[in-house]
Symmetry: C2
Subunit: 143 residues, 2 copies
DNA sequence: TATTGTTATACTCTATAACTATA
DNA sequence: TATAGTTATAGAGTATAACAATA
């Protein structure tokens, strides 16, 4: 059983799998949105405006990496910088309206992909799988 | 439901998640075994001796990338090159005994991680999840 | 003295384009 | 002429180390 899941995860985590998925998800969304910038958008959508240093651990980059990605997203009009209200060293990264729309579109595309692939499943099985996967990821060997 | 799975997958496919998992899996296995070389080992274990050009599509690299990884694995004693029996242009990449042992150890570690994280699940739910994940990955939006 | 955002630098990994040998 | 393996080169992306400004 552990081996069955291990092999499935191995395939899922393969570079080609991820890249194919990301390409199909970000198609036509502009050059600024890709595998690396999406975590920045996603984290901002999830938690609201944050500073680069604060985002770094969530995104899996250090502050300099967040700065670079944020600059790309800013130039594409998806993110803007605002002065931090209490710390004049910091700047808050904020999703623009276009940024919010981009995140919503990406989440919708992925969800649609998934829903389509579950269409042939018994409804109960699909719902059970969703719950199980959520639990597995949340407190599995990855958290 | 699609959104629940989408968010779980988003976390699973995050770079930090993958890197943490790979680090914990390959700890102490020598410098040659890492996130990039593992797919080469894994593919050879799955399908037997192959040429570099033949492996390329499986591994998600082109032939030059396979060559580089194979050279690293060869220097570490996990892979050896043998002349192709019928095509003198090609070379077969073959797992050495040490290579076989390394693959088995890595699969065992991952399976153990997973089994441990499922220990608290009802046995039926865990088995059902394994089957569902396998199916989802095999003919889901990634295949 | 520590931390923020930013930039320059070095490093890693990749695909592309060559090259030689064989089909 | 095409394909195998290999190597050199260029490109993309990262962390590290610096910098000035603020805490």
């Amino acid at each position: 059983m552990g081996y069955e899941i291990a092999d499935a995860l191995g395939l899922l985590l393969r570079r080609t799998t991820r890249e194919r998925l990301h390409r199909s998800l970000t198609e036509g969304m502009g050059e600024a949105v890709d595998e690396v910038t999406y975590p920045v958008l996603s984290a901002l959508a999830r938690t609201g405006p944050r500073s680069a240093a604060d985002l770094a651990s969530d995104v899996g980059l250090d502050r300099s990496g967040v700065t670079r990605r944020a600059t790309r997203l800013e130039q594409a009009g998806l993110v803007r910088r605002e002065p931090h209200p209490t710390d004049r060293r910091a700047a808050l990264l904020v999703l623009t309206d276009a940024g919010e729309r981009a995140v919503a579109e990406l989440r919708r595309r992925l969800a649609d992909h998934i829903t389509a692939s579950l269409a042939a499943w018994p409804p109960g099985a699909a719902r059970e799988f969703a719950r199980s996967l959520h639990r597995f990821v949340a407190d599995g060997p990855f958290a």
